[in-house]
């Protein structure tokens, strides 16, 4: 691996060396390294691009790393990853995509991830997106995540788009059975002329299912962000969506939340806020010796942490 590849892996998966446990590293459309364990199998798909990740029932304290890196411009990578998480398993999955595009052509990665999480299983899914490179070519990432949570299953999803992604449309859809829980935390930062669109579709179908979506974003320069969520309560359930955006420069932020209760026992809350950095926050940090720029940076870093 060269320097660029190593740096990308560090950014998106916090990897300095080959990870422990199961992993599959994909570069420019091809798997370049793979490891399975006694409990976790990774099978390359035959009919289309992608892998099946199969976690045996009752697997505990194991992790799967599946980072994707793109270092060639003019390349569109479309990949289907299916995760099968057995009953009562408890695993961490670290995905993410880093693009280094030094060309003037578009580099694009569209990942379609499906999660089948069996009864009582628990998954922590971390997905980081990052773009860099001196070229004028676009860096496009369009992740799609489909989540099926069986009885009492839990999924925690952390989705972070750090920097440098020209355009992204991220769709997340969840279907939730009895007693299942979904906790999503999203962090997005856009600059220049970047565009980021997030769509959450959550169906709370089972009794006592619950979802919590927390989205925090910062839009700088001329970037545009759109947040769309639709949470349907079809049973006695609980849903809470909060999205909070800081807007700067000439950026534009659209927040379009929707909650739909189809059952008298459904309890759904939506909170949305868009605003510039509060003046009093800047002033407070300036009284501690920071310049206005430094104060701004501290506030944003903290907000997106």
């Amino acid at each position: 691996m060269d320097k660029i590849e190593k740096a990308l892996l560090k950014q998106i998966a916090d990897l300095e060396t080959i990870p422990v446990g199961a992993y599959n590293i994909r570069e420019n459309g091809e798997g370049i390294a793979k490891n399975t364990t006694a409990n976790i199998d990774i099978v390359t798909k035959k009919n289309k691009s992608g892998i099946d990740i199969i976690v045996k029932a009752n697997t505990k304290n194991e992790s799967v790393h599946i980072p994707v890196i793109l270092t060639n411009g003019g390349f569109r990578d479309l990949v289907y990853n299916d995760f099968y998480i057995g009953e009562n398993a408890d695993v961490v999955i670290i995905a993410g995509c880093g693009i280094h595009n030094s060309t003037c052509e578009t580099a694009e990665h569209d990942g379609i991830h499906s999660f089948h999480i069996e009864k009582g299983a628990r998954v922590r899914y971390i997905e980081k997106h990052y773009g860099e490179g001196a070229g004028v070519g676009d860096r496009i990432l369009n992740p799609e995540t489909k989540i099926n949570l069986c009885e009492n299953a839990i999924m925690e999803m952390e989705s972070v788009q750090i920097k440098g992604v020209t355009s992204t449309i991220r769709k997340t859809e969840a279907n939730m059975e009895k007693g299942s829980r979904l906790i999503i935390s999203e962090r997005i930062m856009t600059t220049e002329n970047q565009i980021a669109k997030t769509i959450f579709d959550v169906n709370l179908n089972g009794k006592d299912s619950s979802v919590h979506v927390a989205s925090r974003s910062v839009a700088e320069d001329n970037s545009v962000q759109e947040f769309i969520s639709n949470v349907k309560g079809n049973a006695k359930c609980f849903g809470h969506v909060e999205c909070d955006a800081i807007i700067m420069g000439n950026a534009k932020v659209i927040s379009d939340p929707k909650i739909e209760a189809n059952n008298i026992e459904a309890s759904l809350i939506h909170e949305a806020a868009i605003g510039k950095i509060a003046g009093e926050q800047l002033i407070k940090l300036m009284t501690l010796g920071l310049t206005e720029k430094e104060a701004e940076k501290q506030i944003i870093n903290g907000f997106l942490k």
Binding site: I283, M286, G289
Partner: protein, 269 residues
């Protein structure tokens, strides 16, 4: 030879003069001078020609009725508000046109009456920023326990709306203790922390006063805080009504015919 002696003498003389000057000013220890400060907003005169001299190594308490202009005066010293006219001199330097950041860097600190909340920044972050990123974790913990907060519990808490008013006030005080300014202004630090034993708050100020080379200025209505002052300044209706030693001012504040006392701007605890 004569020439040489004269030049040596004049150099020596200059040195002596400088020495005398500096020892005079040290004796006097003038830290802050406010000269003819005026501040109006919405056709209302909020501060009317304020003249104040604050000495080094002093514990000063500013008191006065609500709305008399105490917080405005503190904001003007910190640079948060700009006076319409007048001058601010800090350690012999005219800082009237200094920005907030510049004033913070030359040694002015200000604990807000209403602490600011930050989504995402933790108590540890803010204490680190306050100290100029020079503080050790164990020192930060000690500061927190001084203000009555268990460090383990609070160090990594976000300074957001989930904290109570009293907790925010204590964190605000901890930040200023970490900053170590030559002049630290506390705006009604006792508000909202009635549950916390008052003695702790007072000993925080006394410790700061002992360990810091500088002055502390506390805006307060509390009799027990007035009691730890060296000097007391009474502000009412935008003017300095009284400024002097605690021993002179306290009896005046509590005299029966004093308006301020009747309006209950002093609270005994």
């Amino acid at each position: 030879m004569v020439k040489y002696t004269i030049s040596l003498f004049s150099r020596y003389n200059k040195y002596i003069k400088k020495y005398i000057e500096s020892s005079l000013s040290r004796k006097e220890g003038r830290m802050l001078e406010l000269k003819e400060i005026c501040f109006s907003r919405d056709n209302k005169k909020i501060l009317k020609n304020i003249n104040l001299n604050i000495d080094d190594n002093k514990m000063i308490v500013i008191t006065g009725p609500n709305g008399s202009g105490k917080s405005t005066l503190a904001k003007i010293i910190m640079g948060i508000e700009k006076p319409d006219s007048g001058k601010i001199i800090f350690n012999q330097k005219d800082i009237t046109n200094f920005s907030i950041t510049e004033r913070a860097k030359i040694g002015i600190g200000f604990a807000f009456q209403q602490p600011v909340k930050f989504k995402g920044l933790t108590v540890k972050d803010l204490i680190e920023i306050s100290s100029g990123n020079s503080i050790k974790v164990c020192d930060a913990c000690e500061i927190l326990s001084d203000v009555g907060l268990c460090a383990q519990e609070y160090l990594n808490r976000e300074v957001n709306g989930e904290l109570s008013g009293g907790e925010l006030k204590r964190i605000e005080i901890a930040m200023l203790a970490a900053k170590q300014s030559r002049l630290t202004i506390f705006d009604e630090p006792e508000a909202g922390i009635d549950l916390w034993s008052f003695n702790n708050l007072i000993s925080v100020f006394e410790n700061m006063h002992d360990n810091l080379k500088g002055s502390i200025m506390i805006i307060s209505h509390q009799e027990r805080i007035l009691n730890i002052a060296d000097d007391i300044i009474l502000i009412s209706d935008g003017v300095v009504q009284k400024h002097g030693k605690k021993e002179e001012i306290l009896p005046y504040l509590f005299s029966k015919d004093n308006l301020c006392y009747k309006n209950k701007c002093i609270q005994s605890s």
